[in-house]
């Protein structure tokens, strides 16, 4: 059995840098042991957007940046036997697999073995009403008739099974992000599905890798308090994991960024609630005993993950139509800018209260109070004399599209019918998805693994 498994992260979200995986693949090629490159590109909402893509075109519905993520590293990975595991399949893993085969052909590469993991899609298996009764912390699904997407978070087992079947590339839809690393570890080390501490360690490795550069200096810099070198060329992380679940986090030599105790701890706690009970499909991870130790420059050792038996239920994300979000902005600058901006806000409030009294909208004063506070119209007052310019933003969300459009029209009308000097109106209407979390019994999870060539 291998002593150490090397897993690199090529992407940490759907919009991540597409040239980050190259240096990771090259570094993995020099690593002495089984090598894997994982791509996490599936945020909560992304899958529903992909589902809508697939409804429009049955050959779409996977991550639209698939070519840019995988294309540049495909030759290196196939040549060096670096196996790729990614959830870029989104709502259509089979189509993503076919596209990767197409890329290999276009590049003149040998035909890779590509596995497709499915079974996360709950639509057709469970009704909208049944989902509504399983919703946690909310009631978005109550009364909803049309479910756009409903996907379980599958665990690591189908990924391990796909690798057992010889896959060079494993394409999934919704799986727990951490399963992208745990699957390869189960495959190589043969960890049992009740070996809770090792499953916890593998889950922790995945959690540390799943956001890509967020552990190597990305999302960290706050100069001069927290300096990160070379952020224009951040190196993405590589985890070296041993058979007992100890691991070292590092990054490719010659890349920017840094791996130290503090970058690792920030990512360790990212999106965690109770640190003694981080729920994953395969195990409940307890990080309260984890030790983080700097070994040398850009090498940090992480040990001490503990596990408890897997939860009885699986999480699912369910998306329904959320109406539209309308946003419109206008600027006021120079002497007395704040007073003119405040008047603009008052005009919009007065007209909307007559023309669409039921519509809730929000006013921000960008650069003054917009992100941490709200209601710029009132909060502008104490700042009046100091403001060189104010950009007002109005936002509303509703299924009543006409009401939202009315708000945008009213802001645009400020160009002539508003205070002096109003400038730079921009308006935007975006379809919105409302998402809910549900807890689903395991009987609904039947993950399927197929090899691309075996499919009809």
């Amino acid at each position: 059995m291998a002593a150490t498994v090397f897993i690199g992260a090529g992407a940490g979200f759907a919009g991540d840098r597409t040239d980050a995986a190259g240096p990771v693949a090259e570094a993995l090629a020099a690593c002495p042991g089984p090598r894997f490159l994982m791509f996490e590109t599936l945020a909560e909402r992304t899958l529903a957007l992909s589902q809508l893509d697939r409804q429009r075109d049955p050959d779409r519905g996977f991550n639209p940046a698939l070519d840019r993520f995988v294309g540049p590293v495909l030759a290196c990975c196939l040549r060096e036997k670096i196996r790729i595991v990614g959830n870029f399949g989104a709502a259509n893993p089979a189509a993503a697999a076919a596209r990767i085969r197409g890329m290999a052909r276009e590049q003149g590469l040998p035909e890779p073995t590509i596995a497709i993991v499915e079974g996360d899609d709950l639509t057709g298996l469970i009704s909208a009403d049944e989902l509504a009764t399983r919703e946690t912390n909310g009631s978005i699904l109550r009364g909803a008739t049309k479910i756009i997407a409903a996907n379980l978070y599958l665990g690591a087992e189908p990924i391990a099974r796909a690798l057992d079947q010889g896959a060079d590339i494993v394409v999934t839809g919704r799986v727990a992000d951490s399963a992208l690393a745990l699957g390869p570890l189960i495959h190589v080390f043969g960890w049992k599905y009740d070996d809770w501490d090792r499953l916890a360690a593998g889950t922790l490795a995945g959690h540390l890798l799943e956001c890509g550069s967020q552990i190597t200096g990305g999302y960290f810099a706050d100069p001069p308090f927290k300096n990160v070198p070379g952020m224009a060329d951040l190196g993405y992380p590589i985890a070296e994991i041993d058979a007992d679940g100890g691991m070292v986090i590092t990054k490719p030599a010659g890349t920017g960024g840094c791996v130290d105790r503090l970058t690792v701890i920030e990512q360790l706690l990212y999106e965690i609630h109770d640190p003694s009970a981080y729920l994953a499909p395969d195990v409940v991870l307890d990080v309260t005993g984890v030790m983080v130790e700097q070994l040398t420059s850009d090498r940090v050792r992480v040990t001490g993950a503990r596990g408890k038996p897997a939860p009885e239920t699986l999480k699912a994300t369910v998306c329904v139509d959320g109406g539209v979000l309308g946003e419109a902005e206008i600027s006021y600058a120079g002497p007395n800018a704040a007073a003119r901006a405040r008047l603009a806000a008052e005009i919009i409030s007065a007209r909307m209260s007559r023309r669409a009294p039921g519509l809730v909208f929000r006013i921000d004063a960008i650069g003054v109070v917009s992100v941490l506070g709200e209601n710029g119209g009132t909060l502008l007052r104490p700042w009046d004399s100091h403001l060189p310019d104010v950009r007002l933003r109005f936002a509303a969300q509703s299924a009543m599209v006409a009401d939202v459009e009315l708000l945008l029209d009213e802001v645009e009308a400020l160009y002539c019918a508003g205070p002096a000097g109003g400038s730079g109106v921009r308006r935007r209407l975006t379809p919105r998805l409302a998402s809910a979390s549900c807890l689903i019994e395991r009987k609904f999870a039947a993950p399927r693994v197929t090899l691309l060539g075996d499919r009809a």
């Binding site: 984890v290 979000l325 941490l372 509303a396 979390s437």
Partner: protein
Amino acid sequence: MTPATVTLHDIANARSGDKGNRLNIALVCRDPAHYPAVAEQITAERVAEAFAARKPSRVVRYDLPKLSAFNFVLDDVLEGGVNASLGLDGHGKSLSFLLLEIPLQIPKQGGSKS
């Protein structure tokens, strides 16, 4: 030893994460020596006060002494979460810096060794 007043931003790092309408903020002491002062002063109640404008329904602090870190979990502070909020920062990513504005007192460095 007289204490000095600083903000959390002077001595600690923070990162926000979101799940639905729930926010977590990891707070990590850059120097483990500051952990006791933070533990004593930056209570869940103190953080709830700093976030009062967001009307948290519950604030829980989890302590991670081995990491010189804390995890704060704030319920119902994201205006419905990223898919429902009308705000520019539906994820609440910037709220870690609201936490870092909180002042606290730390033992003065470089004082007499006696």
